[in-house]
Every structure is written in structure tokens, then in C-alpha cells.
């Protein structure tokens, strides 16, 4: 009950944010939401399914490129481009899942990485289609029900609405019988098979579902930036999403959201002062994995308690 009140309060705060914040912060918040949906979709696989993936940027990127290309090359409006991009990307997730799930654990990870890298390399080289390193520019935002989304606030509310909807649906997913079975396959896959569960099918369905939400984040991404570049398909992008999940703590719904906020804020502020964001990212990876594997929030708490203990025993 208390939790629901807090959540409701947070929601109210987020809704009224544009009224008392400058455009910079509203835009930053939009970016945080987009990244949060991306991270949450990765967490379906990692936290709930026990499947670590390094290729999730594929779904974000392909949906983004799909929407952009349908608009630019076929001249079709968003009301066709969006569903087409979502369906196409989800089908691709289905195909990728068939391949990646031939293995599990590290093999699965490597397959998702390899497939994602192939898309990334192709986006750079298939200049005829993607304009390569230039990226696709001059894209537009949709106007659902005729509402113009070009202003920062309007887009922010649109993104907030989509984010709330996606988080709610993902919450229902993980709390459902299917979600319980999924968590079972994470903890004891052989036992689940011995209980009658089709472990492969459970994983594949989750893979496709996670791909779908990755695609949704991709659409939000391309609408926000009105531009798409092959770098959005890169390993770095997938890794940042993974970092957000791990930083916030996997296996919970709120973890990736918190982690996405942390990583996005870090990226925004750090890149203003530090030129070499990649190096910082690398160090953050190493530090979090070695010192705070359970997530930044629980990890910090643990380290703080340990320091306090050591300090108290000396006093």
C-alpha cells in the first residue's frame, strides 16, 4: 500500500515536471525514459530469464532504421511505419532467438553478440540502404491523434505514457504464471523440464517479447533524435543497456529503471567534463562488476555498512 502511494506520487511528479523544469531537463528526462524501456526489456532476459544478451541494441536499431527507411524511401506515414517496424523487428527477434537459443549461457551470449555485430557492420557498409556513416537524418516525429510532438514537453508526455504502459505490461508479464515459469527456468532449468515445462519455448517467447520492447524503445529513440546512425546498433549500446540493468540490480522491475537513470545521468554529465566516455564506461564496468555485483544501490549500502562497522570497531 505504501509502495503504491509512493509510485503514484512519483507519477504525479513526473507528469508535472515540464511545468517547473527547463527544456534541457525535460529532454533529459525523455532520454532517461527511452533508455529505461530499453534496459527493462534487457532485464526480462537477464534478470528474469537468466539469459545474458549482448545484442539487444539490434532491436532498438532495426526498429529505428525500419521506421526511418519506411518514411524516407517509401514515403509512408508513421501510422504504417510504426507498426511495420515493430512487427518486422519482432519477427527478426523470433529468427534471432531460434539461432541464439541453440546454446545457453556463454554460447547464447556470443551468438547474440555475433548477430548484433553483423547488423552493425551491415549498417555501416550497406551504404545504398542506410547511407552508412552519415546516418539517416531529416526524420519526423509522429502526430498521434493529430497532436504535434515536436515540442519538448509534448514529446516528454508521449514518452512518459509509452514508458508507463510498457512497464505496466512488463510487470504483468513477470507476475503472471508464465513469469513464474520463466524465473523457474532461470533458477533450475533441468528441474523445470522434469516438471513438464518446455524450457526452450519459454525462453524463446521471452526473447521475442524482450525484442518487441527493445523495438518500442527504438521507435521512441528515433522519434526523439529525428536521426539514426549505425552506432545505435553497436556493442557499446547493448553494453550500456546491460550496465544499466546491473547497476540498478537485475531481477526486479525497478532495478533497470533506476540503473537507466544512473547511467544516463552519468553519461550526460560526465561527457561534459570527460572526453573519453568509453574509458569511463570501461572503468565503471570493472568497478561495478568487481565491487558491487548485486547492483549499485544494494552494493553501496553493503560497502557503507562495512565501512561503518570497521570504523566502529576501531573507535
Amino acid at each position: 500500500m505504501k509502495r503504491n502511494i509512493c509510485l503514484f506520487g512519483l507519477l504525479i511528479f513526473l507528469v508535472v515536471l515540464p511545468f517547473f523544469s527547463g527544456e534541457f531537463y525535460v529532454n533529459l528526462a525523455s532520454q532517461v525514459f527511452i533508455f529505461a524501456v530499453f534496459a527493462a526489456s534487457i532485464n526480462l532476459l537477464l534478470g528474469y530469464g537468466g539469459l545474458a544478451t549482448l545484442g539487444h541494441a539490434s532491436y532498438l536499431g532495426v526498429a529505428a532504421y525500419g521506421s526511418a527507411l519506411i518514411g524516407l524511401k517509401l514515403g509512408l506515414g508513421h501510422w504504417i511505419a510504426a507498426p511495420a517496424a515493430l512487427v518486422g523487428t519482432t519477427l527478426m527477434a523470433g529468427a534471432f532467438g531460434l539461432i541464439a537459443l541453440r546454446a545457453s549461457g556463454l554460447g547464447f551470449l556470443m551468438l547474440t553478440l555475433a548477430m548484433s555485430q553483423v547488423l552493425w557492420g551491415t549498417a555501416y557498409r550497406w551504404v545504398g540502404l542506410t547511407d552508412g556513416d552519415n546516418g539517416l537524418r531529416g526524420l519526423t516525429r509522429p502526430a498521434p491523434f493529430g497532436i504535434d510532438l515536436d515540442s519538448a514537453s509534448a514529446f516528454y508526455w508521449f514518452t512518459l505514457a509509452v514508458t508507463v504502459l510498457s512497464v505496466w505490461l512488463m510487470a504483468r508479464f513477470v507476475r503472471s504464471p508464465f513469469g513464474a515459469a520463466l524465473r523457474g527456468t532461470r533458477d533450475q532449468p533441468r528441474r523445470m523440464a522434469a516438471l513438464g515445462h518446455n524450457v526452450w519455448l519459454i525462453r524463446w517467447i521471452t526473447f521475442v517479447y524482450a525484442g518487441f520492447w527493445g523495438a518500442v524503445s527504438g521507435l521512441l529513440f528515433v522519434y526523439y533524435h529525428k536521426y539514426i546512425h549505425p552506432i545505435s546498433l553497436s556493442l557499446t549500446n547493448s553494453a550500456e543497456g546491460l550496465l544499466a540493468v546491473i547497476a540498478g540490480g537485475s531481477g526486479t522491475l525497478g532495478g533497470p529503471l533506476a540503473g537507466a537513470t544512473i547511467v544516463m545521468l552519468l553519461k550526460n554529465y560526465a561527457s561534459a567534463y570527460i572526453e573519453r566516455w568509453n574509458m569511463l564506461l570501461g572503468f565503471v564496468f570493472v568497478i561495478i562488476v568487481v565491487f558491487m555485483p548485486e547492483g549499485v544501490v544494494p552494493g553501496s549500502k553493503r560497502i557503507y555498512l562495512k565501512c561503518r562497522q570497521r570504523f566502529a570497531s576501531r573507535a
Binding site: P177, G179, A180, G196
Partner: protein
């Protein structure tokens, strides 16, 4: 009397070493069969072949005259096969009730529902009934990691019973239990309804012999002796191979 489980000419080698070497046996419906043999005789391997966790190299396995040799493990479960494990492989971070629920879900269409909330689904009543069967209903809301080893063994059996199996494989159900716990579990096994055929691997002869109607003795992956309890106990080959305490 229909044959619940028929194994014909089963073979399995590990890197050239034959673990199961042309094993054939038949278990009648409702029978209580005990499989014994020294360590390394191939008993657990045999179970793994029956459940499909291992792929055999030749031979056939049928349940109620239907060939299950090519079916993946989860599909064999849907045909009525259930099994407990020597090593506890349950879900430690979940409550006992949730563990049983996962077992009940395995055979229910509801397991594909990805929208409804689990706790509103109908499984609570049935899960509590199953836990009551093994005397653990008072601990339904404890985490599995918090209960004793003996209780975990009882949960293992409850998980299998929740599947209402036609053929139940019990892999050393008494291992590591205290004397009192052994009595409890023995009663549980004895109370399993006749609709379920029981095949059991056990080392604890004193307890297991009482439960068995027929006994199969395995040694180096082969069936050495098979017959009623009296026949097997009297057979000199059994003494040769293994009949210790």
C-alpha cells in the same frame, strides 16, 4: 496386467565406458519395483535415460505401450512420468508453496498465461493439499532454503506427487535422512496410490526391502538378478554382487 514401463535393450556409454549395457526390464502397472546395485552400477544413469535427461544409444523405452524413446523430457512428463532427484534441485529462493505451484503449473494450460496475476490463480488450494499430504502445510510460506534437509526431501516427493504421475521414479528418497525422517518418508511412499507405478533406487536395504514387490539388481550396467523380494534375497548372485547394509 498392463505394462507401465517397458525398457528394451537400452545402451549408454560415456567415452567408451559402457554405463548401461543392454538393459531390459518391465514394470507392471501399480507395481513397486526396487532397483539396487553397488555404486556405479548405472542406476541413476538408467533413470536419466528413462526421463530423457540423457540420450540413449539404441534400445527402446515405452510407457503403457507407447514409445517415448524419442520424446524430449518435458513431453515424457506430460505422458505421466515423474521423478525425484538424489541431489536436491528445488528452488531455494521461493516458498514451499511456490515450489509446489511450479510443479502444478508444469502440467496446466495456465502456465502459458502471461497476463493474469499468479497469486490469483487457483493453485493455492491444490498446493496446500499437496503439502498436507507430506505433512508440510504449516511451513507453506517458509522459504525452501530455510527448511531442514529432511523437509526438503519431503518437498521433493510432494513435487512429484503434485504431478499425479502414472510412473514415479524415486532416486534414493531416503538418502541422508535421520531414523525418524526415514520412517515418515517410508510411510509417505507406502501411501502412494496404486494408480501410480513406483520404481525406486535405494541403498538403505532395511527400509527399502519392505516397500518393494519386485527387485532388479544392476551391476556394471547389466541386469544380474530380477525377481520377487524372496527370490532376489535368496539368489547367490545377489550376495556376490551386493547385499550389504
Amino acid at each position: 496386467m498392463p505394462t507401465a514401463l517397458r525398457i528394451q535393450g537400452l545402451k549408454k556409454s560415456f567415452g567408451g565406458l559402457p554405463a548401461i549395457n543392454d538393459v531390459s526390464l518391465e514394470v507392471a502397472a501399480g507395481e513397486r519395483r526396487l532397483i539396487i546395485g553397488p555404486n556405479g552400477a548405472g542406476k541413476t544413469t538408467l533413470f536419466n535415460l528413462i526421463t530423457g535427461d540423457l540420450a540413449g544409444e539404441g534400445g527402446k523405452i515405452s510407457m503403457f505401450e507407447k514409445d517415448i524413446s524419442k520424446l524430449p523430457p518435458h513431453r515424457r512428463v506430460h505422458r505421466g512420468l515423474a521423478r525425484t532427484y538424489q541431489i536436491i534441485t528445488l528452488f531455494p529462493r521461493d516458498t514451499l508453496e511456490h515450489n509446489i505451484t511450479l510443479s502444478l503449473l508444469g502440467l496446466s494450460r495456465t502456465r502459458w498465461n502471461s497476463f493474469a496475476s499468479l497469486h490469483k490463480a487457483m493453485f493455492r488450494e491444490e498446493a496446500m493439499r499437496i503439502l498436507a499430504l507430506v505433512g508440510l502445510e504449516s511451513m507453506a510460506h517458509r522459504l525452501l532454503s530455510e527448511v531442514s534437509y529432511g523437509d526438503k526431501r519431503r518437498v521433493e516427493i510432494a513435487m512429484a506427487l503434485a504431478q499425479k504421475p502414472r510412473v514415479l521414479l524415486l532416486d534414493e528418497p531416503l538418502a541422508g535422512l535421520s531414523r525418524e525422517e526415514r520412517v515418515t518418508v517410508k510411510q509417505l511412499i507406502g501411501a502412494i496410490p496404486r494408480e501410480t507405478t513406483v520404481v525406486m533406487i535405494e541403498h538403505d536395504m532395511d527400509t527399502a526391502l519392505d516397500l518393494a514387490e519386485r527387485i532388479t539388481v544392476l551391476h556394471y550396467g547389466r541386469v544380474i538378478v530380477e525377481g520377487t523380494r524372496a527370490e532376489v534375497v535368496a539368489d547367490p548372485k545377489t550376495r556376490e554382487v551386493y547385499l550389504g547394509n
